[in-house]
Subunit: 324 residues, 2 copies
């Protein structure tokens, strides 16, 4: 039902999305069997292709050219994929979206290089765009994402951290790349500067809302829907918004300790998830996500009317209400 | 003595090199303590800064601008550094050039992200260059380097491989980035197309000669001069040109087996090195390196006369005769 709703949002751009999908597949078609298999594994694991969709929609506000849109969209989705492969090494994750990860199927070293390879492919794809600002923006975005990943490692297993620390982390982890997807889509179609700024801000706020929902789902959803164990964030040593609200409660301490030191039993994982779900933390986190959604919507509302605007509003709404 | 010779080659460009050195230091000055320390460790471990020197020299054949030269040189040296950090993870190396590696001082995950970070910094540095061809070339080079690294993993511990396999590996591992250093230096200073081609070919041939010498030194030099154990290539499962000549000799089999499975004693390492040194393989490999050097020199000879040409010839000569 939920998935259907997302698909219907995508219908209007089905042709362009499937063109981009083919380009994605071609661009990872390496002559090295390991890379090809690893990349295809990643591609098939799918994901929502939010970055491509944001590029397509943002490009509608200028002179839309599928060729340029595709190069940018492919590049951004590949960067996203590459960062996932490296994240799985950091988090020692064996499954993602129900699929075995590259590091699990092969090993950390292969995962490291598959990430590097996909990342280089991303650069080749965007390399054909003849706008220097595009390359600069992409480089700056990459840099911030990398910084974010190091900060994520530094904060791993750290209980003493603030809401500001969390927001800064998800900004770099998610919001920046979505923001850049919108900005690059607008720039590559030469939209007017004020539209570029609005779309960039929209992407940022929508990205913040999206990641908070992701972190909520990690607690309230099922292993099956998530394609990985619920509570994975905690098991990987990451405090997220819901858990920040309750991290100092005495009843929560044993769960936190055992999650972080890898000694949480299956029974206790279930108890822990119930505890968080009933603590009121989920509602508080959802409220923050909704605030970001409102900000995102405000940016879009002043954009020129049309299908693209309508779709952006629907997608923002979907991203922060979704159940998967 | 040898080092002095290299330094004197660099004298003419000392000011520009030290400007680039400062830019390198600034560009890795991260607010994250781990990244900053890891990057500075890498920078201080030094290396010969061959990529910057190639960029500087190649730029002399056009309209030289230190500002542009520096951006390109910093970018290429950072890409080289980033690939070294990732290589150390692949090879499980604890020392490089006498310094502890990032993966040894911290761990593989930190090394992976330090590499990613330095790599992003490289993109930011070159992002300011307003020539699309530069970005394309860099992206293609990166891609080939990544492919090369995966191929290196695939051939690790494989005895059944040819000279062609080896040459293809070192092309991607070393020659391409040196070739691109020359090409980008020439392009960024808008040298004429025929000069760009010659410099690109020079960089490629010089790079091939350089890497073969590197692989020879791994066998004939001392642990102290190398800053890592002599014979490391074999210990890491890599067959190089000298060892390809003797890999099928019966007397060499036990050395090869124990090197690859990690059971080579210190005494046998010493015997193995002596065996290779006395086998005639070093001379055969040096002969191939000299052939590449000659090709490199031929490319340079038809370039316009001047200090830059003279320096390129001296450096090519140095790179293939060096003892460190």
């Amino acid at each position: 039902m939920e998935k259907l709703k997302l698909m219907s949002l995508y219908t209007a751009f089905r042709k362009d999305l499937s063109f981009i999908e083919k380009e994605l597949e071609q661009s990872v078609d390496s002559s090295s069997p390991v890379i090809r298999q690893a990349s295809l594994l990643l591609l098939r694991a799918g994901g929502k292709r939010i970055r491509p969709i944001f590029v397509i929609l943002s490009s509608q506000f200028g002179k839309y050219s599928l060729e340029n849109v595709s190069k940018v969209a492919v590049s951004l989705e590949l960067i996203h994929m590459a960062s996932l492969v490296h994240d799985d090494v950091i988090d020692n994750s064996d499954v993602r979206r129900g699929f075995e990860t590259v590091k699990a199927r092969w090993n950390n070293r292969i995962a490291m290089y598959t990430g590097d390879y996909i990342f280089s492919r991303a650069l080749v794809s965007i390399g054909e765009i003849d706008i220097t600002a595009v390359h600069q923006l992409l480089a700056e975005t990459m840099l911030e994402i990398c910084k974010g990943e190091i900060i994520q490692i530094e904060y791993q297993q750290q209980i003493d951290q603030s809401f500001r620390d969390y927001l800064r982390r998800i900004k770099r982890k998610t919001a920046l790349l979505l923001s850049s997807s919108c900005e690059l889509g607008a720039r590559v179609s030469e939209a007017s500067p004020d539209i570029v700024v609005k779309l960039k801000r929209f992407g940022y706020f929508a990205g913040m809302a999206f990641q908070i929902v992701d972190d909520i789902l990690d607690i309230i959803s099922t292993d099956e829907k998530l394609g990985k164990p619920a509570g994975s964030d905690l098991l990987n040593g990451h405090l997220t918004l819901p858990t920040l609200y309750i991290k100092d409660e005495p009843e929560f301490q044993p769960f936190l300790k055992h999650s972080f030191d890898g000694t949480l039993t299956e029974e206790d994982r279930s108890k822990m998830l119930t505890y968080i779900r009933q603590s009121g933390a989920i509602e508080k986190a959802q409220f923050v996500s909704d605030l970001y959604l409102k900000k995102a919507v405000m940016e879009v509302e002043s954009l020129p009317d049309g299908d693209a605007k309508k779709s952006l509003l629907q997608i923002a709404e979907f991203l922060s209400k979704r159940k998967f």
